[in-house]
Amino acid sequence: MELKDTRSGFGAGLTQLGKSNPNVVALCADLTGSLKMNDFKANHPERFFQVGVAEANMIGIAAGMTIGGKIPFTGTFANFSTSRVYDQIRQSVAYSEKNVKICASHAGVTLGEDGATHQVLEDIGMMKMLPNMVVINPCDYNQTKAATIAIADYIGPVYLRFGRPKVPNFTPADRKFEIGKAVHLQDGTDVTIVATGHLVWEALQAAKTLANDGISAEIINIHTIKPLDKKAILTSVSKTKCIVTAEEHMLNGGLGDSIAQLLGRNNPAPLEMVGVNDTFGESGPPMQLLEKYGLDAKAIVAATKKVIARK
């Protein structure tokens, strides 16, 4: 399996948009290389805006640039794309209904060695609480590239979350990205496992282990946390009668939290959630951090066995 970083998928998508959509502009807060925006910058210097280490200003400029028809893509780390500029996004982008694409790399603990100051685990929650905001967390390079291209055609604010480490690139390169439409990866009958971002791959690995134990898992990739594909989730749970959620994010406010609301209102089936439990991250190699914080295939297997026992 080819290993590729999702941020490079973003960079490749942006490169393609540079050619196909003259209204796309890109802004970056001193992280052009990290966000893989170099190609766009080289190909379209007149449409690339280096704002320096000034994220609040970047969000405001992006909001203003929409007036007159531009489609701004802002690029910085996920922490500086959200918690640092929450009020700017809230007022100048979300409340103002501006067509800004907030593109956020290095999300979650897999940012790795830089440690907790940079490992935002609250961003999905913050962004999904904002009215008008679409929240997308693709799982691999191909899907991130496709999502980047797709959001340019959607009119309205979008938060696009991706990451730093090289991970398996397993989704088809030619699959069109549909905002808000869950991707069914594997049929199963005993449990529904819904995952987002890097943990989709972990969920697929967990499914193999579970199969060896005679457990049939249905795997759904929820790349769009808002709007949530409620129908896909409820349909699957009506069959399997239990569900596990998995995300590289805080349990409070994440995908699992959205699904708990959905089930509570519609079909209160047993639910287990894989995510970070009310703690900050730390420095370390990405995959060791996934293991330590209970975000890997092993954790998904354990949660699955627990939820099935509760049926």
Binding site: V51, I61, G64, I67, G68, Q91
Partner: protein, 281 residues
């Protein structure tokens, strides 16, 4: 040549509008609104090339951004008196189901508003963004913006000020409403900011200081000079000395009317100082 008597009549009527709007729901910000009335009338009735048949994109017209959104009463009254929406709608200010929210918003498609403001310090960045898009679109129109002086205490402004000069955003004319007052008192009591003009010069802006910021002729001449200074590689800022509460004797010279509405008696007194000119809404 501007018709100053006519513009003065508009100012007087807008002052009445502001006072009546704020009084009607016993909330809002009359002080800064009254202090900026001449500025708004100069912009909308003399300086800006703008179209009251509103489009969000505003192609080939000048655009205005209000960063200190709390002085919405003067903006709403100016927009209504410019024909952006019906005068009668001013009566809905701050009431439920109104498009005239306490602080301006695009949320309800109010003609004339292009971004929400109220949480301070964000408007200059937005104005810069709009100015950059004008340049990309080869649209030679101007971007105007207004900011409170106390608002400059928000750090985002200085990010934006640094960016605009470094990137030669020279189709932008920002104005600072320099009334030297903020909610808790005078700027010098709350957080002294020293010489604001000097600070902008240090950031390589073209700086104009207008000490007569409640005088229509002075403002119009200043804004015309600002246009002449534009397109020369530097953003332009006008430090506009204004009197908070201007036009109402008991509101002038104090920060007390920043966000306080007049009672019935005070309203009657204030209106008697600003007799009806164009007809109340």
């Amino acid at each position: 040549m501007p018709n100053i008597p006519e513009l003065k009549d508009i100012c007087t009527q807008i002052r009445r509008d502001i006072l009546r709007m704020v009084h009607a729901n016993n909330s809002g910000h009359p002080g800064g609104s009254l202090g900026c009335t001449e500025f708004f009338v100069s912009l909308y009735f003399e300086i800006m090339n703008h179209n009251n048949n509103f489009s969000m994109d505003g192609i080939n017209e000048d655009l205005f951004f209000l960063s200190n959104g709390h002085i919405s009463p003067v903006w709403y009254a100016t927009l209504a008196r410019s024909g952006y929406f019906e005068l009668a709608e001013l009566a809905t200010f701050r009431k439920i189901n109104s498009r005239l929210q306490g602080h301006p918003t695009t949320h309800d498609n109010l003609q004339g508003v292009r971004v929400s403001s109220g949480s301070l310090g964000q408007g200059l960045s937005v104005a810069i963004g709009a100015a950059l898009t004008k340049k990309l679109n080869k649209d030679n129109s101007y971007i105007y913006s207004l900011h409170g002086d106390g608002e400059l205490q928000e750090g985002q402004n200085w990010e934006a000020i640094m960016y605009a000069s470094a990137n030669k955003v020279d189709n932008l004319i920002a104005t600072i409403d320099y009334n030297k007052k903020q909610i808790d008192g005078s700027i010098n009591d709350v957080l002294p900011m020293g010489d604001i003009a000097k600070k902008f010069r240090a950031f390589d802006w073209e700086v104009m200081v207008e000490k007569d910021g409640n005088n229509l002729e002075a403002i119009i001449s200043c804004l015309n000079n600002a246009k002449d200074l534009s397109a020369k590689g530097k953003p332009v800022v006008i430090i506009l000395h204004t009197e908070m509460g201007n036009g109402v004797d008991f509101m002038i010279g104090t920060h007390a009317w920043h966000g306080v509405a007049p009672n019935d008696e005070q309203l009657a007194d204030a209106l008697s100082q600003n007799p009806e000119t164009l007809g109340d809404y």
